[in-house]
């Protein structure tokens, strides 16, 4: 959509011109608006005369450094515009040192921009696009971004495509007659959410049949697990002030739109999460990943209510998610990850019903890196992908099994299998290679010289295989962080810049507490890495980071490796058996198929054990 062209009078009421006004003029001119810049030091009445003289002025932008008497001068200027009958014709904006929205309101201006304002923010205001004071205007230029937009998912390596098709066919055939408690709960949850409160009794009667004792007790006796509590009314009430809150924000980026920067939140308490979210949004996070506790992933069934606990990760309940969702800024992308537990399909249903933007699914990682039984998670994963397709919810296919020692080519083979399955089921997958100093590279030395080449090789390899969105995660720079905040922020910023240089769609970044395992992440540590990342983006701009020729060599090796693994899996005739047998990462790599949910599969219709 092209914004309507406006006419803007720029007024340096200061005795000297300020640079800011000139920069704003340039930005406005670039967008095709018409501007008139007055000489500095004019009297307010002269400015009013100019408004009378110029045809159809839409905006008057006054710049002035504030002081005690200056406030009065500006207020009188506004008044003069009013009583001269021009106030309803023009929008009055003030900018300068010490200007705050409160002062702008006091002086009668329609908006106020203080130090740190970017020209882009002023342009956004003039074009009537959503913006917040001091930032995010450019981030909001196109509204929320669809990370999968513009990707064809066309394979560039036909051999790989053929093998993936065979494997996906096998998975669908194998899964056809199977179900699981997780699959059944997702179905019941969907029905309950769509039939309303009346249906609750009926829902619970069946739902609790598929839940673990801990969950059953919480519903039937209101008995919560250890260290878990309901949020109090006054805690929820406190949050009211942040509803539809538009605080002062940091400018997110310079020029280049991509990548969207995601952070993970999950302090254990939704209230603290919301405060962290507000901090992160303001400091330039484009997206948020809901990080749930690992314990919850090993429990059949989800709890209910506004729940907080003292562990890492915030409990997945309908109420918790809805509460958090209510406090997100309009342009914030929100991912509710479903990928690794016994509640995978049900989590996608919650995410879809609540209008999340993204979810996260990968059965290979869940088996090899997150302790899930391969058979169970494959059934649940297929169902989760179906739900994601139902809600048109894109999801990333994460490859954190690399951290357990699985080499990149094996992890990528697993990722591509899930992505292909998703495409078959109508889903929109996003590939999530890790930018990390994995056990593989520590052993084989791919990062002996630099951290750039091997990470770049991963991106190049995937780009050569398929035209699909890429979202390095999660977080970037895994195993390069230390507990020192400067080191940690710097490594994050550099990995982020590499990702940006490689043109990926999104990145997930850690806080500077990434390596600290002693307790919860502090808000200030989130500010550290967001600030560092944006400073690095500012530094590199359109200048890129140049990998050495090794990157391309390694990308070829990766493609060959992936192809070989896919061939083995296709030949084995069973994706699930391949996971058990270690074809996608096995004991020699340090990865073992998980046991959570073993022997829980049910036969479809008859409801019998498989």
């Amino acid at each position: 959509m092209v914004a309507e062209k406006k006419k803007i009078l720029l007024v340096p009421l200061d005795p000297v011109h300020d640079m800011g006004l000139k920069l704003i003029r340039k930005a406005l001119d670039d967008k095709g608006h018409s501007t008139v810049l007055l000489p500095p030091g004019m009297e307010p009445y002269e400015v009013v005369e100019r408004i009378l003289d110029e045809v159809e002025i839409d905006f008057v932008l006054v710049s002035r450094t504030l002081g005690y008497r200056v406030g009065e001068l500006l207020a009188r200027f506004v008044d003069l515009v009013e009583v001269s009958g021009l106030r309803d014709r023009v929008t009055l904006v003030v900018g300068g040192m010490a200007v705050r929205p409160e002062l702008a309101a006091e002086m009668g201006f329609d908006a106020g921009f203080g130090p740190g304002t970017t020209p882009g923010e002023v342009v956004a205001f003039i074009e009537d696009r959503p913006f917040a004071y001091g930032g995010r205007a450019e981030a909001s230029e196109g509204g929320k971004r669809d990370l999968t937009h513009g990707f064809s998912y066309v394979y560039r390596k036909k051999e790989i495509q053929k093998r993936l098709a065979a494997i996906a066919g096998d998975i669908m055939g194998w899964a056809a007659n199977k179900t699981s408690p997780g699959v059944e709960r997702a179905r019941l949850r969907f029905q309950a959410l769509n039939k309303g409160e009346k249906y609750r009794e009926e829902f619970l009667e069946e739902y609790l049949d598929y839940c673990d004792e801990l969950v059953v007790l919480s519903y039937k006796r209101k008995q919560l697990p250890d260290q878990t509590r309901f949020l109090a009314q006054d805690e929820l009430h406190f949050l009211k002030q942040y509803q539809n809150w538009e605080g002062r924000s940091k400018a997110a980026r310079s020029g280049i739109r991509k990548p969207d920067v995601f952070i993970q939140y999950g302090t254990g308490c939704p209230l603290m999460d919301i405060m962290h979210i507000k901090v992160c949004e303001a400091w330039g996070a484009d997206g948020l990943v809901h990080f749930d506790p690992s314990g919850g992933a090993r429990t059949e069934g989800l709890l209910e209510g506004y729940l907080a606990h003292g562990e890492d990760g915030t409990l997945l309940t309908w109420e918790n998610l809805r509460l958090i969702k209510n406090f997100l800024a309009p342009n914030t992308l929100w991912q509710v990850r479903a990928h690794r537990g016994l509640n995978t399909p049900e989590t996608v249903v919650l995410a879809g019903e609540l209008g999340a933007d993204l979810t996260k699914i990968n059965m290979a990682y869940a088996s090899l890196g997150a302790g899930m039984d391969p058979a169970r998670i494959t059934i649940d994963g297929v169902e989760a992908i179906r739900w994601a397709a139902h809600y048109d919810l894109p999801f990333d296919v994460v490859t954190n099994e690399e951290l357990s020692g699985v080499p990149a080519h094996k992890a990528f083979a697993g990722m591509l299998i899930i992505a292909h399955l998703a495409l078959q089921l109508g889903g929109r997958p996003i590939l999530q290679p890790l930018f990390c100093r994995s056990p593989e590279v520590m052993i084989y030395g791919q990062m002996r010289d630099n951290y750039i080449d091997y990470n770049a090789a991963k991106i190049l390899a995937l780009q050569q295989i398929i035209d699909a969105p890429l979202w390095p995660g999660a977080p970037i720079g895994f195993l390069t962080h230390t507990e020192d905040r400067v080191q940690s922020s710097l490594t994050t910023a550099l990995h982020a810049s590499l990702a940006r240089s490689l043109g990926v769609e999104a990145i997930s970044i850690a806080s500077s507490d990434e390596a600290y395992a002693g307790g919860p992440i502090a808000a200030a540590s989130r500010v550290d890495t967001l600030r560092a990342t944006h400073e690095a983006f500012r530094f590199f701009g359109r200048a890129g980071i140049q990998p050495t020729p090794r990157a391309r060599e390694w990308s070829k090796e990766l493609i060959a490796g992936i192809s070989k693994v896919l061939k083995d899996v296709a030949n084995s005739g069973s994706f699930v058996q391949s996971l058990y047998r270690g074809l996608l990462g096995g004991p020699e790599d340090g990865a073992y198929p998980g046991r959570v949910g073993r022997d829980t599969l049910l036969r479809k219709e008859k409801g019998k054990d498989v």
Partner: protein
């Protein structure tokens, strides 16, 4: 203050304060440092973004040219 004596020159405290503006945050942090018993302190950095203010506050224990508590290190066995 025997532990503080071991601080080479100054101690920084960085945090995020829920405050209406930088002035309020500055006040909070200054009072907090005073409550902790720091007499020689400064607010190095303030930036209001989001629901509060990023703050870096500093308490000087030993200013250059002053008398350095850590010179007497051996006396109290380091505290």
């Amino acid at each position: 203050m025997q532990y503080a004596e071991r601080i080479l020159d100054a101690i920084d405290m960085e945090t995020f304060i829920l405050a209406r503006d930088e002035g309020e945050a500055k006040g909070f942090m200054g009072r907090f440092l005073a409550d902790l018993g720091f007499t020689d302190h400064d607010i190095v950095f303030l930036e209001q973004v989001g629901p509060g203010v990023r703050v870096r506050a500093r308490a000087y224990i030993h200013r250059p040219g002053g008398s350095y508590g850590w010179l007497a290190e051996g006396d109290d066995n380091g505290g």
